[in-house]
Amino acid sequence: MNTVAQEPPASDRRPLRFVAFGIAVIIGISGLSARLFYLQVSQGVQYAQIATQNRTVQQAIPSTRGLIFDRNGRALVRNEPSFAVKIRPVDLPLSQRDAVVARLADLLRMDPADINASIDENPGSRFDLVRIAQDVPRDVADIIAEETLALPGVEVDVETQRQYLDGTLMSQILGYTGAIDAAGLAKLKDQGYLSDDLLGKAGVESTYEAQLRGTYGLETVERDASGRKLQVLETNKQPVAGDSLQLTIDTHEQQLALKALTWAMKTARLKSGVMVVMNPQTGEVLAMVSVPTYDSNKFATGISQKDFQTYAKDPNQPMLNHAINEQYPPGSTYKLVTGLGALSDGRITPTTVIGSHPYILIGATRFWDWNHAGFGPLNIRSGFAHSSDTFFYQVAQRLGITRLAYWAHQLGFGAPTGIDLPGEAAGIVPSDNWKQNTFGQPMFEGETVQAGIGQGYDVATPLQVLNAYCTLANGGRLLKPQIVRQVIGPDGNVVRPFKPILIRKLPTSTSNLVVMREAARQVVTSHHTYNLVELPIPVAGKTGTAQFGVKDAQGRLPFHEWFVAFVSKSGKFAKPDSQLAVIGFAENANTVGNVATEMVKYYLQLHFKLKVDKRLPYLLRKGNFYGN
């Protein structure tokens, strides 16, 4: 064997380099071990905490939303379990977005544009859920849940949704719940609202949001890296159900009011009108109807863009509660302010006689009576009964604009009544101050006399007018109108009991109020309101016809019609004992007679279950009635 040839040359093996390599190994591995020791042993506790936070997330447990009942305990709304489809934008890759949206649109029978709009209007961050659809049928929800892999970022949630049992009957009062928007989330995030939350958006659902919502609970859930909820680890805080509301509204009265209003609107072929019924003694609103209206359920189930646009573009504004959100010239109903103010200030006495004329002259301008012949000499009672414009022009002149404005404010005009519904308009009570601030001029005398008959700059909401007459009817107590009677806790205990809220006591004498009540009764007894007097109930009231807008070819203005009435309990109008006051209002009502009077008459017939029917449909034909 040639062993020599196999012997490696001495230069081949270099022990020092082996040692150096070995040292490199030891240094390398020691370095790794040291770093590992630091991470795992020194910092191990901190990292363990991070790992726990990593896999767990605290998540809100929605509370049960409070219910809403009418004054008799009849449920007006129900909480229904429903499926909602949501998207977490961060988990939806841009490249797949079109395909996912198309598939969802197909499954949900939605317009892809609606889905894209929801994603783009995402109120939260890209990591928060965005609501896409509610009220999804179970089979569709199942399909979407099955297709998780093909629909990245899409989740199906079970949640409760509002169902409004009377559809459109109460929509203006109840409002609706809907998805929170970006502005709302920015405001409410601190109060625990979530990006995909629902909240009350109109009506008492909105004003009583805090009470109805309750308090969300908190749970710790395990999730995976893509945010999917795997299991609930711990409930940190139990949710507390929201309080329920008992409304002052009587469903039956609401139905009657709607029936009367609808009849008048249909017969007169009008689009928009209001009827509100109140108890003057308490300020409780018994019925409040505004047509046209909307369907709360459409909003609660996630309204489509198309339906929403239909509502939004309707010139009659069905989304507004015309009883409180809109303001109109009050017309002759405002003569209460002028008359009561002049009596209280001593500018006239109940027996002061002022001559009414076809018109009065201020400078070179003629201010006409509605009755172009005038009524001859009148006192406050007969002047109010005939609603003589020239009579009240002169009373307004005696009172002056400053005191007129003072008494208007005393009766609740020019400020929101404070009713517990959102978006109430304040109205306008013109005064020198107001006009100076608005137009940079003082009031002219011609404007003052116009203000005295509820024209010109005067505007008010139907509720303000009604509440002013309630104040007359109850003996001078201006009460805050209320629509929620009681707030009831989830355990059934009354959290907030009902009590009338006095805004102010009118600084006038009882006798002045008696005179004005009797004057209002005389409006009816003088047949100014046609055959209303023939109803076997003691009604007093005041009509109004308020011109607005632009003159037509014949020089006539379009006008709104008003009638505000209260029923005496004892039949003696000297007593402030009325428990029922009603206002009817018809917008842009060019009819032969006063539509508002007819609708109030019909409501009273229905309310008192009268056998007689004194309605006069011929008054509701198209024409050009202009009589205060």
Binding site: Q6, P8, L36, Q40, V41, I50, A51, N54, R55
Partner: protein, 386 residues
Amino acid sequence: MGVLRIEPARAQPWSPRSLAVIWRSFDLQLTIYALLLTSIGLAMAYSNSVESGGSLFARDSTFVRGLMWAGLSMLVLAIATAFDYAWLKTLAWPIYFTNLGLLAATLVVGSGVGGTARWIPILGLQFQFSELAKILMIVVLANFLASRQGKLDSIWSILGACMLVAPALVLVMLQPDLGTSLVFVAILGGMLFMSGASLRWLGLLAAAAVPASYVAWTYLLRDYQKARLLSFLDPSQDIQGAGYQLYQSQIAVGSGGLFGKGLTNGTQDSLNFLPVQTTDFVFAKLSEELGFLGAVVVFALFVALIWRILVCAWRSRDPFGLLMASGIASLVLFQVVVNVGMVIGVMPITGIPLPFVTHGGASLISLGLGLGILQSINMHQARAEW
């Protein structure tokens, strides 16, 4: 001056007696350490399969595939052990060009993640030839440097070795696979060092690497590669992007603590916070579930393995054997340091597997081949005592 050299064939017949001698020189320790490391990798694959909830023995479960690759790898080891390594010297050039051909083919038909070309499908399995290329490059370099015995003080020996590696390195960089090309550099460096090449020239070369890496950084690296390389410095900087893996992997490692959460109990990986948990980031899963102690055991196995490889190098009277073993030792050391360093946040992210532990077919089979060659070297030294 040809680098090709024909070795005289060994005429001696195999006899029962010599077989026994041969078996005695088979380094059982070396194979056992490798097997233990592979088993730990399989345990991780098992844990992954359990956690992902699928059937453990489903055909495509991580565990079953891991078992299959481990079996194949042992077969390759056995065959390479029985094969006389001396033939490798004869076949060095064909091996070299086959290697380049495979890498070029990978570029043409290969597929990968995000527009890269790393894998070639063979029989329905994805095979990464750049893993095999590491071992083949060691063979070629060992042959070249062995042929330069006595001339290793010359700069030309070093430059020649560099020239040999350059084409393969460029082909891998084009895939692009930065990590593997760095492994080539590490192998080259380790083998030159152990070959006895002039330290002066090596030092100069290392100094030259500084401006060279500046040029590479500026002109060769793509933006995502730079982002990955830099993200380890501050993973929180880009937590949703390149830093995410690093951040999650450090949480996994750190939360493992001293004793770990127990096999299959890792939350970071079972909930998928940890990306590529059975391949490049397997060590994160390992240290989450087995803790610091488990990781130290793995380190100890690697140290023992490298020790046995160096023993093989020391024993070899043939410079080829010494160099072959040095190359494999360099490969293992470099990959361990870089892979583990990446997982624990002290090295940039590169797609370098953890030897034996990473569940990856090409890596396991290539290492099986490498160890087989080492065993062949071991046994053929023993035939003539010295």
